[in-house]
């Protein structure tokens, strides 16, 4: 057996919400029997951007804000991999927000775990695009779930809270199953408090509301989801659980129609393709 890297211990502060996220990912990978060598965890920049070091899989540390395009590239080049992108609210809602919009639109079968703590922790406490949770007088927050609901291609929108491990684990398993089945982009926002710069455990514990437990809630109805999310928000509550799931076609399924052949595994030896190359060249004959 070849010796390779051993996952390291997290660098997070004791009590950080990210521990729960890491555990949920590890548990969900085990729950669906996902082989480590067929898994790639990509993370952005920030405290959340070290999570790949702590999981037994292929890992990648992306440029700030670019974890989603990179994850899309991996998935399209090798759709057989389980691709999990992870990052913080700064990475996903500020510098990388444009890519999030297009990820919803394209719907690649990638899991995206966005750890929202309302703050830039690694640079010691600057405000993030969800800073409203700390200071209600500041700019209003970006709500990733509402954003996803507004884009017709979105297919899996969930929110969990790292202070509620059972729900977080269940949501993560559902997200991995959604991606593993090739159903598209599984977006999971995890409310994940920063104990050092924005300890919101007490606040959030009292506000999270699991929509799954609401009587008659239908996660396949985009309109019901929109209505519920905004009704709860107006009541000062934080909707969690599997909020919306659809059968919108995945991005890679569109490619599969066109003779797609897992680009990462194509044998590109000249002898195999020379006839094709020659016939293309012939079109330029002069």
């Amino acid at each position: 057996m070849t010796i390779t890297f051993t996952p390291s211990h997290p660098i997070w502060c004791a009590g950080c919400g990210h521990f729960g996220v890491k555990n949920a990912i590890v548990n969900a990978l085990a729950a669906i029997d996902q082989p480590a060598h067929d898994t790639m965890v990509l993370a952005g920049i920030g405290c959340s951007g070290t999570i790949q070091n702590n999981i037994d899989s292929y890992g990648y540390h992306a440029l700030h804000g670019r974890v989603l395009p990179t994850a899309l590239g991996v998935k399209l080049a090798n759709p057989d991999l389980m691709v999990i992108a992870a990052g913080g609210d700064g990475d996903g809602y500020a510098i990388g927000a444009g890519h999030l919009v297009h990820a919803f639109k394209r719907n690649p079968s990638v899991v995206y775990v966005l750890m929202n703590n309302g703050i830039y922790g690694l640079t010691k406490g600057q405000r993030s695009p969800t800073a409203e949770q700390i200071d209600p007088t500041t700019e209003r927050s970006i709500d990733g779930i509402s954003l996803g609901l507004s884009i017709p291609g979105s297919s899996f929108l969930a929110r969990a809270y790292s202070g509620a491990a059972d729900q977080l684990n269940a949501v993560m398993v559902a997200a991995l199953q959604h991606a593993a089945a090739g159903r598209g982009f599984a977006f999971v926002e995890v409310m994940s408090p920063c104990v050092t710069y924005n300890d919101t455990y007490a606040d959030w514990s009292g506000r999270v509301t699991d929509v799954t437990a609401m009587e008659g809630y239908d996660p396949t109805s985009r309109i019901a989801a929109f209505s519920t999310v905004h009704t709860l928000a107006e009541q000062g509550r934080i909707p969690t659980g599997l909020i919306y799931q659809s059968d919108a076609p995945s991005y890679e399924s569109a490619w599969k129609k066109e003779g797609f052949n897992v680009p990462a595994r194509i044998d590109v030896s000249r002898s195999i393709h020379q006839n094709s190359y020659s016939s293309i060249m012939e079109k330029y004959a002069f």
Binding site: T2, R66, F260, Y284
Partner: protein, 592 residues
Amino acid sequence: MTISAKLDDLTIMVAGQGGDGSLTVMNVLSELFGRRGYHLYKSRNVASRIKGGIAAAQMRASVISRGCTGDQIDLVVAFDQEAVTNVGADLSPDAVVVFDSSDKPLDRRNLADSVRVIEIPFGRYAVRDLRRDLFKNSMSFGVISQLMNIDQDEAEDCLRHTLHRLPERVLLPNIDSFADGRKFALADKIASGGYPWHLERVTRAKHLMINGNDAIAFGFMAAGGRFFCGYPITPATEILEWLQKHLPAMGGVAMQAEDELAAINIALGAAMTGVRTMTATSSPGFSLMAEGISHSGSAEIPLVITNSQRAGPSTGMPTKPEQSDIAMMIHCGNGEFPRVVLAPGDPGDCFKIGAAATNLAQRIQGPVIIAVDQAVAQDARSVTPFDLEAVEPHDGARMSEDALQAMATYRRYELNPSGVSPWAVPGTKGGMSLVTGNERNEWGLVTTVPAKRREMMEKRAAKIDHVRADLPKGIRGGDRAARVGIIGCGMQSGVIAEASERLNARGTPVQYLQVRTLWPVLDETAEFIRSCDHVYVVEHNGEGQLAHLLDGHGAFGNLRSLTKNDGVPFRCADLVRHIATFEANTMHGDAA
């Protein structure tokens, strides 16, 4: 009329307002000259808009293969006055202007008396006889074909071939229009002057007619490239379009991203899985990709980045050529990391370098930049067929699962003398590893330990030496004993070769070097500079970026910068005059 004497080398321009169909006329003429065995060099001069603005297509047809347009224009087909006014000063003394006089007669104030003008109201006739202004371009071809003494059957066959995609109901009026044009030419004043031109029939082996962008895309694919991601931008978009057309049929992916930041990061993600990957853009887009290029260098991810440069700064002149990103391509991206920058000089070279870059990226596990300019990227020219058999995809240090199993320990960033670490791509059993742009230890875990930092910087830098011997060599020509040198790359390649030929013929001995590897600067470049008393460095930018680069590599104050940044390629005649004058003054100075 003594025009027939120069029919071995003829430059033609068809010009009008965008949407006039100038390009179609030029396509029929290329078909005609191609069948007669000429070599062609075609360029377009268009505004960055869909319709309107001056649109001109230019073509040099020559018996000898040439890599640039001619000094002067011998034949102009113009659909409006502005086109003639613009081109007036560039006409040869015995040029012929075929003018659409539908609106009013030609104002020939800026034309030399010796220029012959043939005025026919193409647009008016086309509307009168065929009910559509657009048929005027086929009519103009009818006139030109008569002017060149091409018989009706041959000319019509060329027209039919060029328009073969049109439905019969559109094709037939075009043929009628063409026949009308021939009749008008007969009836008009051309008759009084006779038909001055007689095209040669020469034998030329089969060639390809292709532009640089298409050839780069083809070279990439032939070397096993199966993933492309880009964002539309002039003048690089043809690479995206070519690969969108051809890669899916090969099982690959060519996709359009939401912006250049996404494009290069999608490309990095794909490249990590082992598929040979390229992105392509033009100057402002390349600026946006800089962070990703640095990441490719640091994280050790093989990636080809093509920059089809346009005139800057900022959004600059999108449809005009420039070589003003040379310094950026060599230095862009934060920090220091190994990279290769290659500069092909014509479409044949674009194919070779497209393939070479794809293999080199695998071998250095890092960024390889292909530097072209709008002229090389978009001008089409006849080149010898590509040597497909010379291209074999190279895996570099990629490991199969079996090779991995045979290792006791696998470290993604293993230190070794070549600097290139063995690499197991995601999906390989037992190869789990970490890839990062942060400084890291051999396992890929972040570190700032000074000794490890030094080792890792040295490891990455060593990769260039690992491939140095295989970097594309320059092309040398001219008088190898000459003490005067000329250096250029990209769009200068054809001009400096022809200028060297003319200078040597008129008694000014020169030799030239077309540089094909810009970075690292090869020893051969330094040796060339040292072998000359002085060297003219010809480039399209204002600051002499290539000269500055070479100043630190072998030059001893003996470089003379010849620069231009007005969006118009150097004319060979200007370059010859410039160097000849400089040399005459130098000799005079030496004598004094």
